[in-house]
């Protein structure tokens, strides 16, 4: 690569970085502005918006509600997804491709369509809008990601590992619990974090299937309707820091585990 190309490439790269991060930086800055109106110039700074949200019972309970939904949905999707991955990976049977396709489909259906479909289906089944319905929709939406991540990891498990376990006296169930499952831990953890973030972040499904209690994105949306204020920036910043921290930690953790357990 010649010098001109390298400069051009780095310009494109930094332009992209600006494009991604400038809105975030602006959002964070405005959360510290000592005025009700968002926009420059910022004449004085304050932490009031932050103390405000941490004192606001509604915001805190919404945060807890969103977190609870995310954890429940993740637990369900990881259990179901891992099970499907183990059934599908490395096996040949009639209809395998069809089952795999149907498993992955929920990830590809546009959110708004699946949200409406869930709403109709929930009503048909007599499920009340609220936490249960949201968890159900999130779990279904997240299963494909778990299946794909776990299958990818499972496909790298050497066949000889399970044969060695059998050879040493393990029946297929013990071999699964003591060899396959520990091998899958990094993938399951990675998929869990991803599901947590997807669920925490979801607006459309939560909006359509929610009852009176809003999730965090739905609350922010409701607050936006009554006008933009730096309070929303503060809430968004807290959510950003939380999710980014979890995401970065998970990325490093799973990378280290993958390295440690390489056969």
């Amino acid at each position: 690569m010649n010098r001109g190309n390298r400069i051009l490439l780095s310009c494109v790269y930094w332009a992209f970085v600006l494009y991604v991060f400038v809105p975030l930086i602006l959002m964070i800055l405005m959360g510290f502005k000592d005025s009700k109106f968002i926009g420059f110039p910022i004449k004085s700074w304050t932490l009031d918006w932050y103390t405000g949200i941490f004192a606001d019972a509604e915001i805190l309970s919404t945060l807890g509600y969103s977190a609870a939904i995310a954890v429940l949905a993740t637990l369900i999707s990881v259990a179901v997804g891992t099970w499907i991955a183990v059934l599908l990976e490395g096996r040949k049977f009639w209809g395998r491709t069809a089952i795999f396709g149907m498993t992955v489909l929920p990830a590809l259906v546009p959110g708004i369509i699946s949200a409406i479909a869930f709403r109709i289906y929930a009503r048909y089944l007599g499920i009340e809008p609220g936490m249960g319905a949201i968890v159900w929709a999130h779990a279904v939406h997240n299963v494909p990601f778990v299946v794909l991540v776990v299958m990818a990891r499972l496909s790298t498990l050497p066949k000889s590992q399970l044969e060695a376990a059998r050879d040493l006296g393990a029946d297929p169930i013990i071999a699964f619990l003591r060899i396959t499952l520990p091998y899958l831990v990094p993938a399951i953890l990675g998929a869990s974090i991803f599901c947590l973030l997807l669920s925490f972040d979801d607006f459309v499904r939560s909006f359509f299937l929610g009852g009176y209690e809003p999730t965090l994105p739905v609350l922010i949306f409701a607050k936006l309707k009554s006008g933009m204020s730096p309070e929303i920036n503060a809430i968004a910043t807290v959510a950003l820091v939380l999710t980014a921290a979890i995401g970065i930690w998970a990325e490093r953790f799973t990378r280290r585990m993958n390295k440690d357990t390489k056969a």
Binding site: S160, E163, A164, D167, L168, G169, R178, I179, D260
Partner: protein
């Protein structure tokens, strides 16, 4: 051990994968305490045999008897057989100690016995210092020893070894070969070793079974196979050899008489003599050819011209052309000094009838 019944009895075992026949009607006994090697190129059926003994494949037909018990349909976890895998298959999330204890735990041993046994086997294989390490922290040779320790720990009746030296470098391999042989002697276990490396097989085995296309090509001691190969395949697969194509002429006492481009030669036929007039191939090892200044009194002799020499350190490979045999060539190993002196003048090449085997094609 005075038990004379075979440990393993393979009775008419065949294995088909779709249309391919991986193993064709194999019948074989393995004695207790024997180091038996299945040798052959890839796809010869040696690994299939090993996997059938381990319980990972079920034979299409035939039976496998282990210690008097029919185990043909028994799953691997029920068999008193353990295996050292080609890639070792150590469990990456367990320490060396946990890897070795795995089989003991599943045998239902109590904690103190497990500890005693795994300590014992680790001391035996000089792994004491590595008990708390993970496989990823070990060298290739150490991993190989852990795999061996893990397989030996449950005290199996039969130990299967699937090309376990393939991943080691040449220098280490020689050392491990000696080690394996000595471990087998000290434990008095029956080892079933699979390899495609003829040198490995010759060094370690009490008995070698040469496999080709799903069938036994020859079954015997390393010396037998080397000096008295029964077939062209065995002669070519094990070591380097001179192959002489000729025609069967008849018998002279125990010896077989053949015609080699007008030269009358005597050999022996370990696989039985073909009928008179049949085209045959005979094999003479390179080191069995001797050089003489005049025609030797006994045995086979032809006169040859030196056409090439290759210095190999302790010895020399000399290529010779035999004009009287329509310019056919022979290759001989001689010590380096003899090799240097031969050259311009034709030499007499002599060999015993015992050292030339008439082969089955």
């Amino acid at each position: 051990m005075t038990d004379q019944t075979p440990l393993v009895r393979i009775e008419g075992v065949s294995k088909h994968f779709g249309d391919t026949v991986a193993l064709d009607n194999l019948t074989l006994d393995i004695a207790r305490g024997e180091f038996v090697t299945f040798l052959g190129p890839s796809g010869c059926g040696k690994s299939t045999t090993l996997r059938i003994l381990g319980g990972f494949e079920r034979p299409t037909t035939g039976r496998v008897i282990l210690d008097g018990q029919d185990v043909t349909t028994q799953p691997p976890e029920k068999r008193q057989v353990n295996m050292v895998f080609q890639d070792y298959a150590l469990f990456p999330h367990m320490t060396v100690g946990q890897n070795i204890s795995f089989g003991l735990e599943l045998k239902g041993m109590d904690k103190t016995s497990i500890k005693r046994r795994s300590d014992e086997i680790m001391a035996f294989l000089e792994l004491d210092a590595f008990g708390d390490r993970y496989p990823a922290q070990l060298s290739g040779g150490q991993r190989q020893r852990v795999a061996l320790a893990r397989a030996l720990a449950p005290d199996p009746a039969l130990l299967l070894l699937d090309e376990p030296l393939g991943a080691l470098d040449a220098k280490l391999r020689g050392q491990v070969q000696q080690e394996l042989k000595s471990i087998q002697r000290r434990t008095n276990k029956t080892f079933f070793f699979v390899t495609h490396d003829q040198e490995e097989a010759l060094t370690m085995s009490d008995r070698i079974v040469v496999m080709n296309k799903g069938r036994v090509e020859q079954d015997g001691t390393p010396e037998d196979l080397y000096f008295h190969p029964a077939s062209r395949f065995v002669a070519e697969f094990i070591g380097e050899t001179n192959l002489l194509s000729g025609e069967m002429r008849g018998h002279d006492g125990d010896a077989v008489v053949m015609d080699w481009f007008g030269q009358t030669l005597r050999g022996h036929a370990p696989a039985g003599a073909p009928p008179e007039g049949a085209p045959i191939t005979a094999s003479v090892r390179l080191e069995k050819l001797g050089f003489h200044a005049s025609r030797p009194e006994t045995g086979n002799a032809v006169q040859g011209k030196v056409v090439g020499k290759t210095f190999l350190g302790s010895r020399m490979a000399v290529d010779l052309m035999v004009e009287e045999a329509q310019g056919a060539t022979l290759r001989a190993f001689v010590d380096a000094e003899t090799g240097q002196t031969v050259g311009a003048d034709p030499v007499w090449i002599g060999w015993d009838s015992d050292s030339m085997a008439v082969l089955r094609d």
